[in-house]
Amino acid sequence: MRSRAIAALFTALVTAYAWLLLRAESQGAIAALILVGIAAGILAMRTQLLRPVARSLGSNERFAQGLAFAAVVVIALALRDDDFALLLLTRVLIVIVACLGLNVQFGYAGVVNFAGASFFGVGGYTAAVLASSARLPHLLVLLAGGVTAALAGTVLLLPILRTRGHYAALITIAFALLFRTFLEVNDALGGPQGLKLGEMRIGPLRFNDPISAGPFEGSFYLRYIAVALVLVALAFAVVQRLDRSWVGVALDTVRLDEIAAASFGMDIARWKIAAFTVGNFIIGVAGALSAFMIGFIAPNNYSFAESLIFVSILLLGGIGSAWGLSLATAIVILLPEKFQIIQEYRFLMFAALVVLTLLFRPVGLVPRPLRRLVGPPLS
């Protein structure tokens, strides 16, 4: 009971902080908030103040997930008519989904994917093409975005599965660079100007109408946030269930020691392709929703640099850690958008952040917990 109270209190603090940060407009206030956040983080680490919080969140995971869900809902409702803040919040949620997919590949199976943004783009372009030309329900269009991204990834990886080492990473880099060029010269897909998407609809819901129900009025982004939140919950469930199963054990073994894995009957190629496919599916769905939300997609959104940002989110959060990457996504997406002085230097900042993480906290902000298939969580 006391442990749950600690978790709830911590979540309330973080929620209040996130709300303040999203709402703040003057650069001075934002700078102050960021400094407070960094100071609080360092202080908490130094004094081990977060120990009981981590223990509490770790031992009541369902409860913790419920709290996180509630926190996002509260923040979204508190900011209900602030379009820009809600756009940022949706973007954070969508990127969390994409990074969860990347986590299956990189964090679990050890398949480095430097084309995360490209598969995100495959999902987005699929959504744009299908939404304009076919009369598919838009929920199916989201799924189709995932399926095409998964297929593209499988086709890409199949020929090089027999090779060892860094070939997979190299081929994803090549794909990331090719993908953007392909889009830029492809007139059917809009070339450098990109494509527009109509509004998203699910049943009678038209996503781009403002919301007014009695006295409640809110931005149209609230609907996207709802869908994104459902996707986050689903992706979280898939990723964590995979982790806590025989599949998780197999993927970890393939990543850690291919020789041991092969000697005990694990089909390394099969597991790599499985992880890559599942991951790209999740990334593709996120990309499709992102395209609907922004209403417009262009090759520039899916550059190699964006892929690197996805990877840096994983490194910052803690490779393999679903909670860690969620926190890291919030930091990496919100910081440059709110604190515009660093907007121009954001890649420099990310690079510095990654180097600092690798130097001082190589396990990431929230290290991946030990898999415990049996028994109560470690106290």
Partner: protein, 258 residues
């Protein structure tokens, strides 16, 4: 004589100009313990790597339980019933001891994606069954260790890692166990205890066959009835330890006596 469980004919493996295995003929009878000895670089570990399919043989044939397994991939060799340990520990250190044991039982686990994602109740029962079996096996080797299965393998000392590695190889109930220098990094007493525990499991499983690479001659003397001595990838002697240790060629090549 009964048909051997494993038999190799003219097995050859070259690394560039080095002939690591040079037309090796070797047979192991079912339910026996065969010692494999020889100086460093004489081809013992290469023999394991070739049998398990990690390195393909350049020539020769391997038959296991009556069927040829030459050229099979490591996965298929394991499925046929051969499990091994490694000279340098190859546990997955960040994973729990239990996870590591389950790596060894991979072929008996249900790892269809959909099953693992959706049928969580059935999965949980499978996990609990496997937990009990793993605990029982580990208990033979070290009872306190059996209570620590949810700790990361990185946290346990070398001797326990060896035990876990042996259990990982045993848990799938292989027909043939290849032990690559289990004594490395252990004291003499610890090695003897580990071997006693392995022999106890061998009795319980009834019919487990073991090939043991070992530098501690007292271990060889105690647990094997027959051994094969390799030098430069060739068999230079074969027989009971007492016999081969008297062989002048063996003494010169390996035991270091004139």
């Amino acid at each position: 004589m009964t048909t051997p469980l494993l038999s190799c004919r003219r097995l050859t493996r070259r690394f560039g100009g080095v002939v690591a295995l040079d037309g090796l003929d070797l047979e192991v009878e079912a339910a026996s313990v065969l010692g494999l000895i020889g100086p460093n670089g004489s081809g013992k570990t290469t023999f394991f790597n070739v049998v398990t399919g990690l390195f393909p043989a350049n020539a020769g044939e391997i038959r296991f339980a009556g069927a040829p397994i030459t050229g099979l991939r490591p996965q298929a060799v394991h499925r046929a019933g051969i499990a091994r340990t490694f000279q340098r520990s190859r546990l997955c250190l960040p994973l729990s001891i239990f996870d590591n044991l389950m790596v060894g039982n991979h072929q008996h686990l249900d790892h269809r994606l959909w099953f693992n994602l959706v049928r969580r109740q059935v999965l949980r029962r499978q996990i609990e069954e496997n937990y009990r079996a793993a605990r029982e096996l580990l208990h033979i080797f070290d009872p306190p260790l059996a209570d620590r299965m949810m700790e990361p393998a990185a946290r346990i000392p070398m001797i326990d890692r060896r035990r876990v590695e042996v259990c990982r190889a045993l848990i799938s109930r292989p027909k043939l166990l290849l032990l690559d220098e289990p004594s490395a990094g252990m004291t003499h007493e610890e090695t003897l205890r580990l071997m006693d525990d392995i022999l106890e499991v061998q009795q319980k499983l009834g019919g487990l066959t073991i090939i043991l690479i070992e530098h501690e001659m007292s271990v060889i003397e105690r647990v094997t009835r027959r051994c094969v001595v390799l030098n430069y990838g060739r068999k230079i002697a074969e027989g009971a330890y007492a016999e081969v240790s008297r062989d002048p060629e063996v003494r010169e090549a390996y035991l270091g006596l004139e």
